[in-house]
């Protein structure tokens, strides 16, 4: 039994099922991020944990207590909304203590809790202001403060950073992470931003169309994506998915692809089990950072394959240069050092880290494990 248990939870609106049998368990102190494209059901799931949406089927339990049908205020959760949802007519202090007041906490205790949290979030000087007199970042802090004051079992965040500008978003992200490390609270955090998911979480649930596609640590999700959807959703630029077929040479499996001029090339796999797929079609998955110039290749890797191919376009991004080339008719993006000498339309000698390559079944789009 975990701290927060979601067992076979489904949600339907009328006859439309928008969440299909979701199973997730969260341990105490974990930072779980629900990530997925817009409309995949993240907010719905979060609202079901909060009690703002009813649970159509299955069960949700917090600290071993089933909370199906329990009122939101009696689940001992706190939520930070995308719009912050600060009460416009109340001061910051009143906003933050409203929940305590509603729960009958005495004034002295409320003031004490308020002072603690205000200090922690450095918003002491804002306590007498109304939300309308705050900047976006300050509102964000107050919204978090309102959640913290309650000392809930579980914090729920629904895209809390999406209304901030890019710079502030990165700062607040770091702060949320620091806060989590300091307080060790259990957090369920919804975002559609895969970078937020990777940086903040201890575990990620990648969702699509009401299904949990994969549940795992950021490393697992990134290095061993369960399927093509997870592989391409997580990471920017997205993982390259290249049609290939398996050729066994000297007992080792290779991915056979065609270069920009249609010439066949063999890329040896590091996973011997793929030999069982000899002659079959697969989808080869290679992340852009595994396609480099020879000097930029990962020295720890035991399987760097050199391959020259014609460069499509080169896009300098400051720290690196993103380079496209054609493999098996697909545009493939590589990431090379900024000072590597690369020219559009000319051949370039790439280094491909096949240790990090993955293979997917072209029909099911699931990653091939055995």
């Amino acid at each position: 039994m975990s701290f927060l248990d979601i067992r076979r939870a489904t949600k339907s609106y009328g006859t439309v099922e928008v969440l299909h049998s979701v199973d997730i368990s969260v341990e105490e102190g974990e930072f779980l991020v629900l990530v997925g494209p817009s409309g995949c059901g993240k907010s719905t799931l979060l609202n079901m944990i909060a009690g703002l949406e009813s649970i159509t089927g299955g069960e949700i339990a917090i600290k071993g207590r089933t909370v199906n049908g329990v009122h939101p205020s009696k689940r001992n959760i706190a939520m930070v909304f995308q719009s912050y949802a600060l009460y416009p007519n109340m001061t910051v202090a009143q906003n933050m203590t409203f929940g305590l007041e509603m729960h009958g906490v005495p004034k002295a205790e409320r003031d004490h809790a308020l002072a603690d949290v205000a200090k922690l979030l450095q918003i002491d000087h804002l306590l007498d202001r109304k939300p309308g007199q705050l900047s976006g970042g300050q509102r964000q802090r107050v919204a978090m403060g309102r959640a913290l004051v309650r000392k809930p079992d579980v914090f729920l965040f629904d895209e809390p950073l999406s209304n901030l500008d890019a710079k502030l978003r990165v700062d607040m992200r770091t702060e949320i992470k620091k806060l989590h490390q300091k307080l060790g609270t259990t957090i369920v955090y919804v975002t559609h931003d895969q970078i937020e998911a990777m940086t903040l979480s201890t575990r990620i649930a990648v969702m699509n169309k009401g299904h949990v596609q994969q549940l795992g640590t950021p490393r697992e999700i990134y290095d061993r994506p369960a399927n093509v959807f997870v592989a391409t959703f997580m990471g920017s630029p997205a993982m390259n998915i290249i049609p290939a077929s398996v050729v066994v040479k000297d007992g080792c499996p290779n991915a056979r692809v065609a270069d920009a001029d249609g010439v066949e090339r063999l890329l040896p796999f590091s996973q011997p089990n793929l030999a069982g797929r000899e002659g079959r079609e697969i989808l080869l998955g290679i992340r852009p950072e595994a396609i480099t110039d020879p000097e930029g290749a990962d020295r720890k890797s035991s399987n760097i394959v050199a391959m020259s191919n014609r460069v499509g376009v080169a896009e300098p991004a400051g720290s690196d240069t993103f380079v496209t080339m054609t493999l098996s008719g697909r545009d493939v993006i590589g990431r090379i050092r900024a000072d590597a000498n690369v020219t559009s339309g000319e051949p370039f000698s790439f280094a491909i880290n096949m240790e990090k390559a993955v293979a997917f079944d072209p029909k099911t789009e699931e990653r091939i494990v055995h």
Binding site: L52, H71, S73, Q82, A85, L86, P88, N89, F98, M102
Partner: protein, 296 residues
């Protein structure tokens, strides 16, 4: 933001010459005078002896200033058969309009709150029907209303009139509040639910404090409509007739000479409360009407 848009406005505004501007103001002043003319006529003639009116000049200032017509209209003039003046009827109107405005506004606010934040199956139908009630002409409901009032034992009483006006006004007040609350973020209600506030607490502590502008609209609308209503008052007033019906009786009384100066004073008395409400709350009225449509 505000400074940017105002400077943009200056850039695009057509610069008008001094002559044009003077002309525009002149025309506007003329219109204003024209609209104020009836008030002027009523005012000057209500402080003249009757002979000055009957001798001819309605527009002239009084030669002899007198408050006697006001006194007469208020407390001694013949209303129907009783020489009571308008005073008791003014009181009737106050007793009718205050609870009717208060109740219909509060019910409208609650309806708007439920229709936007506690939605239920068929709520759009309920709202549609309430909206429809705004378009029912007074005359259609007279007879059914009389029957209902009779059965409730409220016929011919002030509480009866209050009920009629509340029922008739709820459609409008619900419309105002529903549209106002529709723009109010539902996430705030959800946050309050998590904080542990219940149905009425959320209404009282979260929504009502920001409902000022639309409450003003509702109050002004209801006040002027109910105060100025004649048909319901004449039909269901019985012995508790409102000011409007009494004014009609004062002006229409067929016995004796027509005391125009008293009539003018009575008419001003009947119009004063609505005038007062507009002057006090008028600027919030426009603001409230705009608030639903334009997000600021």
């Amino acid at each position: 933001m505000a400074s940017a848009s105002s400077s943009a406005m200056q850039d695009t505004a057509v610069s008008t010459g001094r002559v044009t501007r003077t002309f525009v103001y002149l025309v506007l002043a003329l219109f204003a005078l024209f609209y104020l003319l009836p008030l002027y006529v009523m005012g000057v003639n209500s402080v003249k002896p009757l002979v000055e009116i009957t001798s001819g000049n309605m527009m002239a200032l009084p030669q002899v200033w007198t408050m006697a017509p006001w006194h007469s209209a208020w407390s001694t003039a013949q209303i129907g058969v009783e020489p009571t003046g308008l005073k008791p009827y003014f009181l009737n109107s106050i007793l009718m309009v205050v609870p009717a405005v208060a109740i219909s506004t509060i019910v409208g606010a609650l309806n708007g709150y439920i229709l936007t934040k506690w939605r239920f199956r068929g709520d759009t139908w309920v709202f549609g029907l309430m909206l429809f009630s705004c378009f029912i002409p007074f005359q259609i409901v007279l007879i059914p209303m009389a029957m209902v009032l009779g059965q409730l034992g409220l016929a011919g009483s002030v509480p009866g009139l209050v009920l009629v006006h509340v029922v008739y006004g709820i459609g409008f007040t619900t419309l105002y509040f529903r549209n106002y609350y529709a723009a109010f973020p539902t996430e705030l209600v959800r946050a309050a639910q998590i904080d542990g506030a219940g149905f009425f607490r959320i209404f009282w502590r979260i929504l009502l404090p920001v409902s000022g502008p639309i409450a003003v609209v509702s109050v002004i609308w209801q006040f002027t409509n109910i105060w100025n209503d004649f048909l319901f008052g004449a039909s269901f007033g019985g012995t508790s007739q409102p000011m409007t019906v009494a004014l009609n009786n004062l002006v229409q009384s067929s016995t004796g000479v027509k005391e125009y100066n008293v009539h003018f004073a009575g008419a001003i008395l009947a119009a004063l409360p609505t005038l007062f409400v507009y002057v006090v709350a008028g600027r919030y009225f426009v603001r409230g009407l705009m608030a639903g449509s334009v997000k600021g």
